[in-house]
Amino acid sequence: MRDSITTARQGIPSIALVTDAFWPQGDFVAAATGMPAVPRVRLPHPVAGSGEEAMTRVANDIAPQIIAILTGATSN
């Protein structure tokens, strides 16, 4: 979250990838750092150690969301 916020502050489009379990923490950090609307995409939890097949499935699911946010097709 903080990497994404730091990058966004530099004017570089950025999206934080946040897992389900950390979604409330993402909200907290975004609010605490003064960027409550910083773009986020929700991932299942956990991602780490879930295996290549699961990682590929997650990547396929979220890639269109990331592109949509970056191109302005959707806000979050």
């Binding site: 903080r2 379990a21 950390f22 409330p24 923490q25 907290f28 950090v29 609010a31 605490a32 750092t33 150690g49």
Partner: protein
């Protein structure tokens, strides 16, 4: 600061619990009078900023830290240690924001050194120093925790993501047993004069008990003791074994330090010996499936030390005499990888205050409305803003 109102102390306590501003245990109600008196005891300007506490980025003013100290049950005598501990954890290299947010159970362990052990307490260093029954130890550590929660905004499962936490997250404070120790006072190794007082703070897991029975007739006793401490330090389930950075705290009881001192070992010798002996083989790391172990192509008996810097082993004496030494592994992560931090305990600024009067001792209960100090950051942390 904003003020809450309550009809009684009991009502005020329930409000604080409901707002998530406690650690789950009852607190002393931080009325404006008590907070003002505790802040006065610091001898510092109540608006003085001691640092910024993440992840909420709350400003730790003297007044807000005094609020936490009142809630924790501190006496005014204790507040110089609390102020020093807050200053220590707010140093950037402590990575407080990351530490508060991690899934690891790390908690700041406060080691009180120098004359403050007696003047701000008594801060216990003997039997059960890390356990219940010592007011200064219990309340000083708790005050830091409440500051980290209510100023720093750490809330379990929301902004403090420790999977389990550990009991040291309620309070984690003791003093060095300097008088009986064969080593120079711990704070002198960090550049302080012996007559200075300092709070040494290190992120730490819960204590891991380490048994060594010893044998005065065995010339290998010192080596055996070093070996068993090193074995606990190198526990292949700890972060230290995998990340191989961070710090490790080793609290030795007087009987164990005697064994090492009799062998002619200084603190620096012990740090070097432990750093050299606390290793895991490549085979052990592979056996436990370490994803951080990237050198799997090497020989299976290749040794991997768990620390690269022996000075990051915090060795000192505390506890009663007997068979056990305590080893606290650490988180090891964050941009600065869990270093040891410290701050001077300034006893010159502290002043006596009429604390019994502030607590209302000897007075009958009043039904007057109570004002309860609450920091603005606490509002944010509690989701009220």
């Amino acid at each position: 600061m904003t003020l809450l109102e309550a009809r009684s102390e009991a009502d005020a306590l329930e409000q604080l619990h409901a707002l998530g501003l406690t650690d789950g245990l009852p607190v002393v109600i931080p009325t404006p009078e008590r907070v003002a008196m505790m802040a006065l005891a610091t001898g510092l300007d109540p608006d003085l900023e001691l640092g910024v506490m993440g992840p909420a980025h709350g400003v730790a003013s003297v007044e807000k830290v005094a609020t936490a100290a009142v809630m924790a049950g501190c006496l005014p005598d204790h507040i110089p240690v609390v102020v020093a501990a807050v200053r220590a954890v707010c140093q950037p290299e402590f990575d407080l924001t990351e530490m508060q947010s991690t899934t690891h159970c790390t908690a700041p362990l406060i080691v009180v050194c120098g004359p403050a052990r007696h003047q701000c307490g008594e801060v216990a260093s003997g039997f059960g120093a890390l356990g219940p029954g010592h007011r200064a130890n219990a309340t000083i550590g708790r005050a830091l925790r409440l500051a980290m929660m209510n100023i720093g905004g750490a809330r379990p499962g929301v902004s403090d993501m420790a999977l389990h936490g550990h009991p040291g997250k309620f309070t984690y404070c003791l003093a060095e047993d300097t008088e009986n120790s064969p080593f120079p006072p711990l704070h002198t190794t960090y550049g302080y004069a012996e007559d200075d007082s300092a709070a040494i703070v290190v992120g730490a897991e819960a204590p891991h008990s380490t048994l060594f029975t010893g044998d005065a007739d065995n010339p290998e006793s010192a080596s055996h003791l070093l070996n068993v401490i090193a074995a606990v330090m190198a526990n292949p389930g700890s972060n230290n074994a995998h990340l191989r950075h961070g710090a490790i705290t080793v609290i030795m009881n007087p009987d164990h330090t005697k064994v090492l001192a009799r062998a002619g070992l200084t603190r620096e010798d012990i740090q070097a010996e432990l750093a050299a002996r606390a290793t895991n083989t490549a085979a052990t790391l592979a056996h436990v499936g370490s994803v951080f172990h990237v050198d799997r192509e090497g020989p299976p008996d290749e040794l991997f030390p768990i620390l690269k810097d022996p000075s990051r082993i915090v060795v000192f004496q505390a506890g009663g005499k007997g068979l056990y030494t305590m080893v606290m592994p650490s988180w090891c992560a964050g941009p600065h990888q869990n270093p040891v931090v410290h701050a001077e305990i300034d006893l010159d600024q502290a002043c006596e205050v009429p604390w019994a009067e502030a607590l209302g001792l000897g007075q009958s209960d009043s039904s007057d409305t109570l004002g309860v100090g609450q920091s603005e950051t606490a509002d944010v942390a509690g989701g009220a803003a």
